[in-house]
């Protein structure tokens, strides 16, 4: 599987604190990716069971927010790809993760 520079950046962010659940907006801020780029990446990672998502449990009356973190498979995938090429600059700019 080859990954894009953007996917690489997203994986890098998740890899910084692997057990931490993250909000989509925060990931967008940290990676500098717009929603139109970030969410397709998150969707693809979730489709491939590399990312798990959950709805935040919060006070009644407050709508919940979606949270994301890497699955164990996602963690090993991220380690394999991010640690192999830390900057991700040598990778071709694809629109998302491709098999």
């Amino acid at each position: 599987m080859r990954i894009s520079r953007q996917t690489h950046r997203v994986l890098e962010i998740f890899l910084h604190a692997p057990n931490t659940w993250r909000y989509g907006y925060d990931v967008s801020q940290e990676t500098g990716l717009k929603s139109g780029t970030l969410y397709p990446i998150l969707m693809r990672l979730a489709d491939r069971k590399l990312l798990e998502a959950t709805w935040e449990s919060c006070a009644p009356g407050t709508p919940p927010r979606h949270l994301y973190r890497l699955t164990p498979a996602g963690l090993s995938f991220a380690r394999e790809h991010v640690l192999a090429s830390p900057t991700g600059s040598s990778r071709p700019a694809l629109s998302g993760a491709k098999s």
Partner: protein, 174 residues
């Protein structure tokens, strides 16, 4: 003005969520909820446009994947149908040929040339039950091999089965 922009952003993403297939709705709601945390209205509108494009792409990808899997199921069903049809045809042909061979030699010879007493000769049985049908099977299988491979393979399988059955029968009964 800015309040209107945020309302427009919410309305846009809300409309997309309502019209998107069930698989993309959760993602749409997630984006809509995140939009409330975006400080500026222009950024919220840009977020909504991005979210719309993401959901649209996700729906397209999913539809394309479903279409592809449906097609592969159809292809498999067609292939199985073709195989079963071909084998049925082959078996029907072989049974017909075998019956015709058995009946033709023994019965017709007695009817046409009764003085030869062919029905009583042991080799006639071998020819009618094995020799003739096997020859016809191999000729027809060779002729059909290029254009109707499944039927041809079915006929060859019948030929092998018949020969095996014949030799097992002969070895058991003498």
């Amino acid at each position: 003005m800015t309040k209107g922009l945020r309302k427009l952003a919410v309305a846009l993403l809300g409309a997309v969520i309502r019209h998107t297939p069930a698989g993309g709705r959760g993602w749409g709601r997630a984006m809509l909820r995140e939009m409330e945390c975006i400080p500026t209205d222009w950024a919220a509108l840009r977020w909504a446009f991005g979210g719309t494009s993401a959901i649209f792409r996700h729906s397209l990808e999913r539809a394309w994947r479903d279409e592809r899997s449906n097609h592969s199921t159809d292809g498999l069903l067609k292939a199985v149908g073709k195989l079963l049809g071909g084998l049925t045809l082959a078996v029907a042909f072989c049974v017909g040929v075998l019956a015709a061979c058995i009946l033709s030699i023994t019965r017709l010879s007695t009817f046409l040339v009764p003085e030869w007493h062919l029905a009583q000769m042991p080799w006639v049985g071998c020819v009618s039950v094995l020799g003739m049908p096997e020859t016809i099977f191999f000729i027809v299988a060779a002729l059909l091999w290029r254009k109707r491979k499944i039927v041809s393979a079915g006929i060859l399988a019948c030929a092998v089965t018949l020969a095996t059955h014949f030799f097992l029968y002969v070895s058991a009964h003498g």
